[in-house]
């Protein structure tokens, strides 16, 4: 299949330590793709290759080929700033800036020099609506984002990513720091985003992966063990390791 995101033979080294041992994986330009596996298996590291956030860590070496929309994102010509606008990221801990809700969501737009207030207002509103948090915050957008609950903060962070209209959204355990009700809200919201965006999500919550993802990939000790449609992976895993992990025999 013509994958929108395609990674071929990706190796990543932290100094001497090989954290990713040749990952071949691809995703289409929509749908939700879950990455599962025990802690330290390299799934978050892999995720951070896709927007080059690993570049910020000293002593990291990445080899292999990662293409998004047909262009190699590790070629010297790639502008990481533009790349990260195209490939948004939601972190495990809700990390809104200590600013107002409005300033948080409009942050990315203002970075790219947008000044038209009407345009920004409109985009802030749509993004907050898409992130299913508009009704809770619309009365006072000048409130500090830090005064909100953890679940609301995380949805503000998602709205902040949506506001710059990326084509890919990376989610690094987006609900693991949240209570079940907030997690549920975010899951429902992600289901509405799957049509338009390629969402790649790392999760430790296997039920979550089985509930909302279209495809699932299982990582173990830096290797991709198995990937396929979520239903197939959960019902009929092909590899013994996958079966062991899903049935809770390790990890």
């Amino acid at each position: 299949m013509g994958d929108y995101i395609s990674t071929r033979n990706v190796h990543l080294y932290y100094g001497e330590n090989e954290a990713l041992k040749g990952i071949d994986l691809g995703f289409p330009d929509n749908g939700i793709h879950a990455l599962i596996g025990p802690s330290g298996c390299g799934k978050s590291t892999y995720l951070r290759c896709l927007n080059r956030m690993n570049d910020l860590i000293p002593d990291v070496k990445i080899t292999g080929n990662i293409e998004i929309g047909g262009s190699n994102i590790y070629s010297p010509k790639t502008d990481t700033v533009e790349l990260r606008r195209q490939v948004g990221m939601v972190f495990q801990q809700p990390n809104p800036f200590p600013f107002s809700i409005y300033d948080n969501v409009s942050y990315g737009l203002k970075l790219s020099g947008k000044k038209d207030k009407e345009f920004i207002d409109e985009r802030v509103e749509t993004s907050l609506k898409q992130a299913a948090v508009w009704d809770e915050v619309k009365d006072d957008l000048s409130k500090s984002a830090l005064s909100l609950s953890g679940g609301q903060q995380q949805r503000i962070c998602i709205a902040r990513v949506l506001a710059v209209k990326p084509s890919v959204i990376l989610l690094d355990e987006p609900t693991s720091a949240l209570d079940p009700v907030s997690s549920n809200l975010i899951e429902e919201m992600l289901l509405t985003l799957r049509e338009k965006y390629a969402c790649v999500m790392v999760t430790h919550n296997l039920q979550q992966a089985s509930r909302i993802s279209d495809t699932t990939s299982f990582f173990l000790t830096g290797q991709l063990i198995e990937t396929g449609r979520t239903k197939d992976i959960f019902v009929e895993p092909q590899q013994k390791e996958t079966d062991d992990y899903l049935s809770g025999r390790f990890g």
Binding site: V81, N95, Y107, L111, R160
Partner: protein, 305 residues
Amino acid sequence: MDPIKKKIQNKSKETRQELIGKILSYSSILLIVLVVLSIFIFVASKGIATFTQNNASLKDFFFSTDWSPTAVGKDGRPLVGALPMITGSFGVTLLAVLFATPFAIGTALYMTEIASKKGRNFLQIVTELLVGIPSVVYGFIGLNVVVPFVREHFGGSGYGILSGAFVLFVMVLPTVTSLTVDSLRAVPSHYKSASLALGATEWQTIYKVTLRAALPGILTAVIFGMARAFGEALAVQMVIGNATLMPKGLLSASSTLTSVLTMGIGNTVMGTVGNNALWSLALVLLVMSLVFNLLVKWIGRKGRF
């Protein structure tokens, strides 16, 4: 008696040590509080005496420019106009901080965001060294370098608020820098990752997130710098010209609260108007340092995020 009962009904060695520790720390606190209180009471009683015993006018003190405490004005009250010194003190302080803050923020940003570990350590040593230089050395350099420099490039005799501000600029720079470094370090790294992940450049991240989040801390740093500049006596006294006249500009000889105090306190007799008037200046200094402290506390409370 049951051995366990005996054990738990007697104080153990550890409990007794705990008690001794508590007594020691409480008595230290008590001593410090007593010292601070007695300084306040002493300075205040002396400073207020100018107005109660010597019948000087409080309005004159803050708004008149005639400083000659031993003489008596037309209304029969001593001439204790402290406005020239108050103006001088605020002048050198504000100017010094105005010069120092951009440099301090720049240095601090370099130390926290850009420099390698080596560069950071080097700058750390440099700033610590600047703190350790005695103020008389600063004053001496001011006298030999800054005063002639100002005389040649700006005019006047070289003595004045501008020279004082230049000397204080160097003196407050390390204070403001190291406190700014602390506040920049306190900005959580996840703000930076969030910003970079949204497609911000390093500079945009520094400018729009790091500095903004650290703003309360930076303001605190500036106020600490102001407190330091306001209270500095010796170095300023050496370059400001020490004329108790209303400064006509940045280049005319003038004086500060502290410089008048250090110049005058040895030449007056305890209990006289001249002496009391100096205590009034000291009281103003003390109150100002209290104000600076309260400002810092207030910013700390408001700026918490």
